[in-house]
């Protein structure tokens, strides 16, 4: 039981990390979701093996499962849920603006890099960098 959970946790972390490295926003969001699940599962397993419901008087104490990690995981799940919803809304907004799913480069960084390339006496930036410059992968 525990080894299965450990393997699943490892798998979730691996897939989540891989997806997180991608340039596509939807993949990043799914990656975050998987990572969150992995972490919550880890939290559940940290309570040790399962057992009887922890109700006072119903069973001997040493056969009960540890309720604390479950409570913690519940809190963490709610938080992950809310934030993922926000992230999806933000992703949708980003798609609405750019009509593209890719995460863009930092505009200011691009401008600093361009100034460097132009040299100190080079042309002064006078406007936004073109979309091809900031949208390139």
């Amino acid at each position: 039981m525990s080894i299965v959970l450990a393997l699943v946790t490892a798998l979730l972390f691996a897939c989540g990390s891989w997806l997180l490295m991608q340039r596509r926003l939807t993949r990043i969001i799914i990656g975050i979701g998987l990572l969150g699940h992995g972490a919550n599962l880890l939290l559940i397993t940290s309570g040790g093996p399962g057992g009887r419901p922890p109700l006072i008087g119903s069973d001997p104490v040493d056969t009960m499962s540890d309720p604390l990690p479950q409570a913690l995981a519940l809190t963490a799940i709610v938080i992950t849920f809310g934030v993922t919803a926000f992230l999806l809304a933000l992703g949708y907004r980003s798609w609405e603006i750019t009509r593209d799913d890719a995460v863009e480069n930092d505009i200011e960084d691009t401008m600093v890099a361009r100034r460097e390339a132009d040299g100190p006496e080079g042309p002064v930036d006078d406007g936004e960098p073109t979309t091809s410059e900031i949208g390139e992968m």
Binding site: L72, L90, E108
Partner: protein
């Protein structure tokens, strides 16, 4: 009524305020009154708590009346008290500034509730005595900050907000994982009890825990090499929001690093050395990053990173003088950094841009703004007699006491570069002629709202930083006592657990 019963109020009050401001969403005047009242009350309570903590050492309240390891402990020691007072004052001042400014506060119903939830999260992070509760407090603070940073939904905000949210979520996920592993190893998340039980854990495992926690909070604090998201995302938020993020949020991360490293782990020598290396790299990279920038807010954002290095430097020395200098530095930096960002907001409003290459000559058209910039800027660079000088002096003194010459030299060199950056802003913004047309017109005076409140708020913080230099003696004494408590975890443990044992 004992002072201990005041302990939950820094969490309860702003949260209640947030609820009321949601209901009163339609009436901006009511929202403002509620916010300002709640934050002013927070200042008063924080001061009362600090006074009590100073007298008693620790003020402990365990939620729900359960005894310590079962109930969730709320603890105000000297460090938490100091942080509460400084943060609540800054929160109040920035709220006044936001009310004066035409912008997010006027246009968005959500501003007040979010701001108060942020305040709740910040206060809760300072007073909680439970590691999982710290996670919840962080999440509260971060969830509010996610919305505040993207308030308005402009393309650049969405882009940089995305980076910010994703990196914060990764940090949170890591935090949960560390919590799970810590619980598996020790069977508790109460910090006082963790402190006892971790002593029996295998040293290698303990080292792994302390490094993981350092990474989790290092992301939030903007430590090298985890700082990359910070200069990208902070400057795009609405002005007052950037100021509060710059002043407070990274320092909450620093607070968490100081608290967890010193309380939970007996911080062996190699950890100190690691911290010093990280501190050095953070200082140098931050200050060099600032030099390349053209945007005033981004220069200041890079300087947040370099200044975080100073605080970690103090912690890394692992002496009472060093930790005291770190605490002292945090107080100075919260005030000065927030003031600088508030000035950046004033400049932005006056010149219509925050790009150095597009403005100039403000010293003639707006001498007051110039004066308000000069004091915190010189203070940040560490020139006497301003607060930054005293804070750096304390650090250098503590560093030389234990013969850490290399890092002290680095910190002094970084100070010079900071001065260079501040001179660059001064030359770009306040001297010279306006060279090109701003990217947007300065707002016509009718739409500005009341700049009076913005100036009053900024001037209050500037005066605060001067007051810091005047009362530096007693403040440093207080920091020394706070550091003394921090380096002797048994006092904290006894205060939390000892009551019933």
């Amino acid at each position: 009524m004992s002072t201990a019963s005041l302990v939950p109020l820094p969490i309860v009050l702003p949260l209640l305020g947030a609820a009321v401001t949601v209901v009163a969403g339609r009436w901006r005047a009511v929202q403002r009154a509620v916010s300002v009242t709640a934050l002013a009350a927070l200042v008063v309570i924080s001061i009362l708590l600090l006074v009590e903590a100073e007298r008693e050492g620790h003020v402990v309240q365990v939620a729900g009346g359960w005894s310590a390891p079962l109930g969730i402990a709320l603890v105000v020691d000297r460090l938490a008290g100091i942080m509460l007072v400084v943060s609540s004052v800054v929160l109040l001042v920035v709220m006044v500034y936001a009310i004066g400014q035409a912008g997010a506060e006027r246009e968005r119903i959500a501003f007040h509730p979010l701001y108060l939830v942020l305040a709740t999260g910040v206060s809760a992070s300072f007073i909680t005595g439970d590691l999982f509760n710290l996670f919840v407090a962080f999440e509260m603070m971060l969830a509010a900050s996610y919305v505040l940073i993207t308030l308005g939904g402009r393309p650049d905000q969405v882009r940089s907000g995305m980076t910010y949210v994703v990196i914060s979520l990764v940090a949170s996920t890591l935090f949960i994982s560390v919590l799970a592993l810590l619980y598996a190893a020790t069977g508790t998340v109460n910090m006082a009890e963790l402190s006892i039980r971790l002593a029996e854990v295998d040293p290698g495992l303990k080292a792994a825990f302390s490094i993981m926690l350092l990474i989790v909070f290092g992301i939030k604090a903007g430590l090298f090499p985890l700082f990359f998201w910070l200069p990208d995302s902070y400057p795009t938020a609405p002005g007052p929001v950037t100021a509060i993020f710059a002043g407070l949020l990274t320092k909450v991360g620093v607070y968490a690093i100081i608290r967890t490293q010193l309380l939970l782990f007996d911080t062996p020598g190699w950890m100190g050395t690691t911290l010093l290396w990280v501190a050095g790299a953070t200082m140098v990279v931050g200050v060099l990053g600032a030099i390349a920038q053209d945007d005033m807010k981004r220069i200041l954002a890079f300087h947040i990173i370099s200044q975080i290095g100073y605080m970690i430097l103090g912690l890394g020395l692992l002496t009472v003088a060093g930790v005291a200098a770190a605490v002292f530095y945090v107080i100075h930096h919260i005030i000065v950094k927030t003031a600088l960002f508030l000035v950046a907001g004033l400049v932005d409003r006056r010149a219509g841009t925050s790009r150095l290459s597009e403005m100039g000559g403000l010293v003639r058209t707006a001498p007051l703004i110039a004066a308000l910039f000069a004091v915190p800027a010189l203070s940040l660079a560490g020139l006497p007699p301003f607060s930054g000088f005293l804070a750096k002096f304390a650090l250098v003194d503590a560093g030389l006491e234990v013969d850490r010459w290399a890092i002290v030299t680095a910190s002094l060199a970084v100070g010079l570069f900071t001065l260079y950056s501040m001179t660059k802003i001064w030359a770009g913004v306040f001297w010279g002629e306006r060279d090109t047309a701003p990217s947007r017109e300065p707002m016509a005076d009718g739409r500005l709202g009341s700049p009076l409140w913005m100036v009053v708020a900024t001037a209050t913080l500037v005066a605060g930083s001067i007051a810091f230099s005047v009362w530096a003696g007693p403040l440093h004494e207080l920091s020394l006592r706070a550091a003394g408590d921090l380096l002797d975890p048994s006092v904290y443990v006894e205060a939390v657990l000892g009551v019933d044992r």
